[in-house]
């Protein structure tokens, strides 16, 4: 109303001058050429729809099943729909289906990807032939790096059509995304006896939902963790996820590390790249943290990873060259090893974590939270050490060695009713040392009770929790 009144009071001439001034200003602005580098980047397709009653803009060759999944589980069903005439149908196989015991695939655009910056979620309607849990459902998996993968886990489908929302962790990063849909689901029932079912997906598209807000990003599952490492070691930041609140309901989405912007507090000790890969460079301590979102409004992720580098990794002493007839090697880079089932099999009451690992190119056994652990060979061909005289081991304790700390080594031969076994306490030979390799050469005759070691099935390392963190290398019998 105010505008009208003031205009009415102006005479025509004034209006003309006024309006033409505006026109002049606009035309001047229009003529100013931007510097080339300031020009906005050309954007890829901003199409929202993936499937309505047909696939939208995915091209012809877009369906890629997972390795091991039953390949032909996917069809377009004209008898089921939430809206329109048809829906996507997935037939999850029975556990005993010879073609594969689960359904899982990606939909990858056959052609250029999409610009998803205008959206904040992938949404769809879904129902299942019976109430069922879908292990994974999301997008961003393209089998070409899966850089911006995001998915929800254990999503419950019912027999009624319901709408589902997969939040996009940071749309501003999705400038050309080809992986627009992904699912993985097994049958229903006890493990090994799962029965298949069908589910339907309709109205699959990207949306910008005003109801989706309050992002809570996390790395390391939101915990502040510490890891001891060595120069030259690289490893990924794990436990990256995001919780978004959709009109009161929290939705948790597993988010690829690439969605996050990482920072190292001391980049001379460790760096972290855009993919969340940490590279340890020199001794010292550095804390890895992350933010999500644009640099204008970054949101701090809960959780951090403090990397402590003890410096260069000092490997165990390299064993001497030996004639193959004089050594039966269980674990060593120096000799040809026998076949091993595993380096940390399941035992009731065992707390031990870890096993085979590679540090700066060297294979070692790394155990944490040790109470007892065994190298297992009972399912492998017999390990015959009957001609050997000694057992060799190198052990590096990764913590302080306190009075009363011990490691007992036990050999079990011919595991079962006819087994024999013997054990020795390493401290009886040489003291264990903190952060140093100690080599043990133990006569097999010291393993009282062990018969002829013609079928070595297990070698136990027992600390009863007195020592929690150890490296082991070069486990072999020799003569």
């Amino acid at each position: 109303m105010i505008i009208i009144n003031s205009l009415n009071r102006m005479d025509m001439k004034n209006i003309n001058i006024y309006l033409f001034s505006i026109l002049l200003i606009f035309s001047t602005i229009g003529c100013v050429r931007e510097e080339f580098e300031d020009l906005p980047r050309a954007r890829y397709s901003r199409t929202a729809d993936i499937f309505t009653d047909n696939f939208v803009g995915l091209g012809t060759d877009f369906y890629f099943p997972y390795q091991g999944a039953k390949p032909n589980v996917f069809s377009v069903d004209d008898n089921e729909r939430y809206k329109g005439t048809s829906s996507i149908r997935i037939d999850v196989p029975d556990a005993n289906d010879p073609a594969g015991n689960f359904a899982g695939a990606i939909f990858r655009i056959d052609g250029a990807g999409r610009d998803l910056q205008d959206f904040n979620a992938l949404t769809f309607w879904a129902r299942a032939s019976q109430a069922a849990t879908i292990s994974e459902i999301g997008f961003g998996q393209d089998f070409i790096g899966d850089t911006y993968r995001a998915f929800r886990t254990n999503v419950q489908f019912s027999t009624n059509w319901q709408k589902f929302v997969i939040p996009i962790p940071d749309p501003s990063k999705l400038l050309e995304e080809r992986g627009v849909f992904q699912f993985a689901a097994g049958g229903i029932g006890p493990e090994g006896e799962e029965v298949g079912f069908s589910f339907w997906i309709d109205e699959l598209r990207f949306e910008n939902l005003p109801s989706l807000a309050q992002p809570l990003p996390r790395i390391l599952n939101g915990e502040n963790q510490t890891v001891n490492s060595f120069n030259g070691v690289t490893f990924p930041v794990t436990g990256t996820s995001l919780i978004m609140n959709n009109d009161g309901t929290d939705l948790s989405v597993v988010a690829a590390p690439s969605y996050f912007n990482f920072r190292s507090s001391n980049s001379s000790v460790a760096t972290v790249n855009a993919f969340g890969e940490v590279a340890v460079l020199s001794s010292g301590s550095s804390t890895i943290t992350a933010t999500l979102g644009s640099s204008d409004t970054p949101i701090n992720a809960l959780g951090s990873l403090t990397v402590i580098s003890d410096g260069p990794f000092l490997g165990a002493p390299i064993p001497p060259a030996r004639n193959s007839g004089n050594v039966v090697s269980i674990f060593s880079d120096a000799y040809t090893n026998v076949q091993v089932d595993n380096y940390n099999g399941f035992f009731q009451f065992a707390t031990t974590q870890g096993g085979l690992t590679s540090i700066a190119g060297e294979n070692i056994l790394s155990y944490t939270n040790l109470n007892f652990v065994s190298v297992n060979m009972f399912n492998s061909p017999d390990v015959n050490a009957s001609a050997m005289t000694h057992l060799h081991l190198d052990i590096n304790v990764r913590e302080n060695v306190d009075p009363g700390d011990f490691i007992r080594v036990q050999i079990i031969n011919n595991n079962g009713p006819g087994e024999t076994s013997g054990a020795v306490n390493l401290a009886n030979y040489k003291p264990l040392l903190s952060e140093e390799w100690v080599s043990y050469d133990i006569p097999l005759s010291d393993f009282t009770g062990l018969g002829t070691p013609n079928d070595v099935d297990l070698i136990f390392f027992v600390s009863d929790g007195t020592i929690s963190n150890i490296f082991i290398d070069n486990i072999y019998f020799y003569r």
Binding site: I3, L7, N16, L19, P210, S211, N245, G248, T249
Partner: protein, 275 residues
């Protein structure tokens, strides 16, 4: 004047006309009640200041039966729970912490005995907390509450919401014969946003025989004596005082869940009264 000149002029006038037209059709015609500002608290102050004691007094503790609703919080006047943020807002913060036998603290302030009003436009600009079990409110009680008690005194809830439904605000009145579960309530849902992600203005316009409820100048409920149960009393023709609080748990919202994020804050940019 050249022909081109005339054409340009015509187009320009047409455009201006279109703009003015669309401006007129897109807005609801609201009654202009000729209000002028009679009191406000803009919460301008230094970081950490308490709310102005000339305007506000604290309700402390747990009341009777958790303020009549089995609410879980202990209200304090500590800076942790309530303070001016130095950016022009009052902060009321609900914290998950053991305190005086409760597991949550928060704050509740009132203008009782300090600023009491009869009729006018009562408004506040607020960004709410969110999450299961959070219950923020901007509301009024009758000034004669100590004499006649509740619900006889009357209650007008200008804004309250359940944190588990952060897009839905409720406007309500309570009085004798229409209180608690039988209060007269209207819900207003935002479909283009949420109340916890940006500020919104919550208001009533109130006269002797009407109460109009607004969100951001959108009138969503008009209440008159004809709307209360037959034979019951319209008790909204006397003085009322204002309250601001964030409750945790209680009959209205249920308890927080393990996923409810704490602390939760309500930001109040201003409270204004026009008459």
């Amino acid at each position: 004047m050249s022909k081109t000149h005339k054409l340009v002029k015509a187009i320009l006038f047409l455009s201006v006309g279109m703009i003015m037209l669309s401006a007129c059709t897109e807005t609801n015609e609201l009654p202009d009640r000729g209000y002028t500002l009679v009191w406000s608290d803009e919460f301008d102050g230094t970081t950490g200041d308490p709310p102005n004691p000339e305007n506000w007094t604290f309700d402390i503790g747990t009341g009777t039966d958790g303020w009549g609703n089995n609410e879980l919080q202990y209200y304090t006047d500590r800076t942790e729970n309530i303070h001016i943020d130095g950016r022009g807002n009052l902060v009321i913060k609900a914290i998950n912490e053991p305190f005086a036998g409760r597991n949550y603290t928060s704050a509740r302030i009132t203008t009782k005995g300090l600023r009491e009003f009869r009729f006018g436009r009562i408004e506040a600009r607020i960004k709410t907390p969110f999450g299961q079990g959070l219950w923020p409110a901007f509301w009024m009680l009758g000034s004669n509450i100590d004499g006649v008690g509740w619900p006889q005194t009357g209650e007008i809830d200008i804004m309250e919401l359940r944190g588990q439904q952060p897009s839905t605000v409720l406007g309500s009145v309570h009085g004798p014969g229409y209180s608690a579960g039988n209060a007269i309530t209207t819900a207003f849902q935002l479909f283009d946003g949420r109340f916890d992600t940006e500020f919104h203005v919550f208001a009533i316009e109130w006269g002797s025989d009407f109460i109009d409820f607004f969100v951001d100048d959108r009138l969503y409920k008009r209440l008159t004596p004809a709307d209360i149960p037959a034979g019951s009393e319209w008790v909204f023709d006397r003085h009322f005082f204002l309250l601001l609080n964030v409750a945790v748990g209680g009959n209205f919202v249920g308890s927080p869940s393990p996923n409810t994020r704490f602390p939760q804050t309500m930001l109040i940019d201003y409270v204004r009264v026009y008459q």
